[in-house]
Structure formats: C-alpha cells, structure tokens
Amino acid sequence: MRHDHLITSKQLAREDVELVLDRAAEIDADPAAVAERHAGKLLGLLFFEPSTRTKMSFETAMKRLGGDVVDMGSIESSSVKKGESLADTVRVIEGYADALVLRHPREGAAKMASEYVDVPLLNAGDGAGQHPTQTLLDLYTIRQNAGLEDLTIGVMGDLKYGRTVHSLAYTLTNFDAQQHFISPESLQLPREVIYDLHQEGATVREHDGLEAVLPNLDVLYVTRIQRERFPDESEYRQVAGEYQIDLETLEDAADDLTVMHPLPRVDEISPAVDGTDHAAYFEQAHNGVPVRMALLDLLLGDSP
C-alpha cells in the first residue's frame, strides 16, 4: 500500500481497497499459510474508550499472524489519567510496538497521533470521525455477497452520527455504486458528507422510507437508531419503529438482497431474519479478522 497509516477511508483509492480485499480473501482461504508470518512482531493497542469487539478483532488478527499484542490497559489505570497527552502516549508506546491501533473519543485524534510516530498507525475509531477498518470489512462482505460492480445499496437508520456509514459512502464512490440513504429527517446524512459525495461525483438519493427503493436494492445496510438522539421516549419509539426490518418488510425485496448491520443491534432487525439467506451481519462481524489480518500484513511488510 502507498500509505504508512490508515487514518480515514478517504485515503483509500479503489486499488487500495482491492489490494486489501484480495489479500483478505487469500488469507481467508488458507489461514495456515500466514500463521507464522509476523512471529515476534508486536501490535500496540491504545484504546482510550472501550470497544471490546474491535479490540478483540485486532488482537485475534495479530495473533493469527503469529504476532502478539501489548495493551495500554484501561484508561483509569494508565498515565493518561494523570494528564499525559495523546502525543506523548503514542511516542512512548511506539518504542514497544511495530504498529499501533488507536481508538479515541476525539475526532482527528488518529491523524494527530500519526504525525508523532514512525510505525504504522491504524485508526480504530476517532469520535464521530472515521472507522476505516470497519469500512474495509463492510466492503469485503459486500463483495462476497453482492459484488462491488453495478451495486445498488440502501443505507438506513441513523445516518447523521454513524461514522461507519460516512466512511462506507466515501469509499463506495470509487466503485460508482448507486447509493440510497433512508432515514428520519432528523438523522439525515450531515450536509458535509453530502458535499463530499457530490464533489466525488456521486449521485446521492435521500428517502424517508424504505418501500420505494427496497425492490431495487442489492444490499441493505441497517444501522442502529439510538435513544439518546431523541429528546423524549415517545418520539424515539415512533421513529425507531418505522425503521425496523422483519420478514414482512423483506417480502418486497429481491431474493438475493443482502442485509448488513455493523452490530450490535438492538431491535432494528428481527431475529426471524437471521435464518434467511438475506442475513450477512454475523458473517460481516467475522470478516473483521481476515480483513484486519490483511491490513496488518500489508502495513507490517515482510518479516525479517
């Protein structure tokens, strides 16, 4: 890859995405072939806010490549609590590790941190900013299930605060996908994201309901609508109820529609959908490991 760090999905050109996804597919097909590939290498995990799944996924990926992890531990017990700056923390941990994974509550944290280190740094979520490895595993899942050519995708739910949605949308512009955005008015895509998508020449269509577009979709990407976003419970209930997927909803869908969700879900997708051919969300979660293995492999380079 041309990049030393992975900070935002915006830096991923089509070739970069294809490189990572192809490598992930190779690894997926024959994980034993890379089992010792990065033996002796250490990945530094810096999680300034809890995210057990993302952290475990990176940890598993590194261990399956023969490497190991060093973990900053919880924020409460670390020097961060004593007021150490992020810039200092990353420079210290850089001395121990061959690559770093950073999760931080502030937007732009990964970009800033990357300016202070020479080892590759992967952004595992910076506030409401970016989560590019999620985007790559989403793309991997889409490619497996529906292909990335001539794709028509619907993205539904909380599009305003969903960073995974924003990163995915940017990257899909490289593949000329037709993107439909379905959300309540108060949770529409931020105007800045729309601006960027237009800059990239993408056609953006926004809808407040699923009915009109559902039959045309190859992929339906559902995200969680969080109660915290609404001033009162009744308003939340009303909105959330309209954006739930069950077997009845899917009657109008194409037989090969792929339903995705970054998980955890609450009640956006009825458990009855789990057993259908539409459901790809658990596969999507599992894909985090081969995709992160591929990324780490590309960023760590050849073992000595």
Partner: protein, 153 residues
Amino acid sequence: MSDDHELRVSKIRDGTVIDHIRGGQSLNVLAILGIDGSRGEEVSVGMNVPSDRLARKDIVKVEGHELSQDEVDVLSLIAPDASINIVRDYEVVEKSRVERPDVVEAVLECPNPGCITNADEPVTTTFEVLEDGVRCAYCGTIVREHIASHIQE
C-alpha cells in the same frame, strides 16, 4: 470619481491600505488582523463606498502596520477581492491582490468541541480552503459563515 471617494478616507504615511473589501466586511477584516484601536494605532474605515469593481466596497487604512503573509492569507478568506497596498512615506511601494491559499495554519480555531485540536495537545490547527469556506484537516468540520469569529485568540 473614484479619486474623490478615496479622499473620504484620509491618506496614511506608513502602513497598509486594504481596498476592495466586500461591502460590510471591513470590521471583520479588522477583527482578523486583531486591530481594535486599543494599542493606539490610527485606523480609518470606509464602509459601503461606491466602486466600479464591486457595487459597494469597504476600505481599511492602518497606520504603522504592514500586513504579513499570514495575515494576508486569512484575509483572503473573507475578502477574496481585496487589494493590499503597502505605503511608506505616503507612497504605495507594493500593491498586490490577495490570493487564496490552499491551507491556513495556526490561525483559526475549530468550532467542533470534540476535535483533537481543542484538546490540550501539541497540534497546530490546519484548515483546508474550499471554494466557499474552510475545513478542519483533523475532524473535517466545514466553516462557511462567520469565519472571522473563529480566529484564534
């Protein structure tokens, strides 16, 4: 005619004349330059003066202060048509149009409270200049209006 209008704002001996500011923007220009008269500097402002190039323009004359490139860069964000005249001993010794830079560094504050540039970290604010605003290089927030109010203290 235009000479006549120019006369409405007194000539300066040494300093900067910023001409062709979009009508009504002169106070923002002064804010950007951090000039509020509190240091005793002599400042003349002409507002909504008729102009050939712009329907109405503002003019700012600051005695004893030559603009730096950084100041001109930021100025360009709110006064893209401005011309800068550096005056020494009543003569214009340098005349230039502002040019919009690609980025402005260490000048603006990010309005996003969650941005890493607003944490206590050693990071220089950097804004990419767009056609119609500026965008934080760290968090991506776009500022289109009242750019002058985001000037760092």
